[in-house]
């Protein structure tokens, strides 16, 4: 069983992010790390391959400046190989084009039984790439998976909903987006870290993949303006004179949460 995981490499969330005033986008020039959201997907893939008793976990990532740090982390966890799409032309690429690029990148790894992504990334969080990839690849898409198993070649997913979860079955191959916390990502061991050094990562450009147009040219969107989030207003203080509960109920009703 071969599983491909989309791993996004993002600026370290512990560091304050910065916007580039000329492009109005997040600066991604420093070192990038594996998006924590994708750690779950990698772990899930490793467990599925393990349960299947054979196969490989491959990785695809699109990131600027030939960045591989996040990919190496996923390889250290146990993935076997990766494809990195890195190309200055990708500057300004929107989520749909990202999906096209990643879909093309998965083809470099050969046929996969399953493609896993996170429901949304930690930095961009449009939460649209996995579904768009499925569409581009002509595969079924199952979203918000909180558990994934494969029985007799059929994908079984518990799909998180507001009320609980749906039990979904689906044919393979498919694209599944997994929610945070579904599994506990393993720590890469010392041996894993050393082994990752010699695992293959193929770096490709957009023209290698034949996806066009990309970047600002391919984006059906434009960032017109960036403005600060409004300051948070001071809260309302309710002094309890025996009937504060009524005021709280009224307040919640006003917010339409009751």
């Amino acid at each position: 069983m071969n599983v491909i995981v989309c791993v996004k490499q993002i600026p370290d969330p512990a560091m304050p992010g910065e916007l580039d005033p000329s492009t109005k986008t997040l600066k991604r020039s420093g070192k990038l790390i594996l998006d924590e959201s994708d750690g779950y997907g990698v772990e899930m893939a490793l467990q599925l391959v393990d349960a299947a008793g054979g196969g490989e976990v491959g990785l695809v990532s699109m990131a600027p400046n030939g960045e591989v740090s996040g990919l190496r982390t996923a390889l250290a966890m146990g993935a076997s190989k990766g494809v990195l799409v890195s190309d200055p032309e990708l500057q300004g690429t929107d989520a749909l084009t990202t999906a096209k690029v990643l879909a093309a990148a998965t083809k470099r790894l050969g046929d996969a039984d399953l493609i896993i992504a996170a429901t949304e990334s930690s930095d961009g969080y449009t939460g649209t790439v996995p579904e768009q990839m499925a569409e581009v690849l002509g595969l079924p898409s199952v979203t918000f998976a909180k558990s994934v198993t494969i029985e007799d070649g059929v994908l079984k997913v518990n799909r998180q909903t507001e009320a609980g979860y749906d039990e979904v079955t689906c044919t393979l191959p498919a694209v599944v987006s997994v929610t945070a916390g579904v599994v506990e990502p393993r720590y890469p061991s010392f041996k894993g870290i050393m082994a990752a050094k010699s695992k293959p990562v193929e770096e490709v450009t957009v023209s290698d993949l034949g996806v066009s147009p990309v970047g600002w040219a391919g984006a059906n969107q434009e960032i017109v303006e960036v403005s600060d989030a409004p300051e948070r207003q001071a809260g309302e203080i309710v002094t309890d004179e025996g009937e504060s509960h009524l005021k709280i109920v009224a307040f919640l009703e006003n917010l339409k949460v009751l």
């Binding site: 982390t73 250290a76 010392f190 050393m194």
Partner: protein, 381 residues
Amino acid sequence: MSITDEHEQFRTMVRSYVETKLNPRIPKWEADEAMPLHDVFAEMAELGLLGLSYDPEFGGQGADTTFTLILAEEMGRCDHGALPMALGVQVDMATPSLHRFGTPEQKQRWLRPALEGRHVTSIAVSEPDAGSDVAAIRTRAVRDGDEWVINGSKTWITNSLQADWLCLLARTSDEGGYSGMSQILFPTDTDGFSARKIPDKLGMRASDTGTLTFDDCRVPVANTIGEIGRGFQQQMAQFVVERMWSSYTTVGACDRALARTRDYCAERQVFGQPLLANQYLSFKLAELAAGVDMLRVYNESLAESADRGEDVTRRATIAKLTAGRLVRRVADTCQQFHGGMGYVEENWPARFARDNRLTSIGAGADEVMLQVLARLDGYSA
């Protein structure tokens, strides 16, 4: 020193492991005054943290010494000193002699389970009447055929209530002084052995420190590490590795303590301004941070020398002495700048100060480091 991507990945992994897996468990361990070392070591062994610099043939990882330095620095960022010390004992105090002087059979039998986290180990040197003066030890092993018959007692022995075996230093002849001692692998399930917890320590409360009694304990002479009669000399070499571990963990511990104190002082308003706006405070912190940086770089070059197989006795001694003194100043300063908040158990500076006080006492007191240095450098009469 050449820090590769792998070193950085390793640091990231250990830091995250400490923050998310170890630190949340520490309040309970401190309250219980105990840690489940077999569980924790097994978990760490999975990550390859238990035998970084050891031979892969015996369960080690074959890593360069810089990885050990990184591990120790990051362990220094634990919320207490007890686990970093327990780990230090396991990998850098109780096992270096076995790795260096042991036979392949001994290493398979004793080193491998220690590095795989199945055995907990202790280094048993100090005695009620022999601490700084190791040559004064009286625990005696008398040969009876193929066996040593051991009598005596040891005290202050870290990990000893859970240990599966001890690296024991005992007198094996009547020569006296620095001669006639041997290092013996001592299984703690041997008849006549008992361990008693030393209660109410100032710090390192989660660490089990024990007093050990040996009453006609019989172990095979084949359990002797290296040469019979060379135990003192082998132990002195083992102490050198131990000093490096102390110095490396201190850098991580101080780094974090200073950053936390800086953040606290930036928040805390006194006389209408953040504490950090007082030049006295900010200079003090900057100066201590500079001291930590000096030690860090010194440690890095020490690790490199050790990797090249050079004799690092002198520099390890300087590093350990410097670390013990530095962390005392750091602890005292952090506590002082927290005011009353530094004097309550619920905040970190109190535990930090009492745990790290040990660095200047254990593994050879500051004065013993000075004694070694004075001798090596020709400053003693």
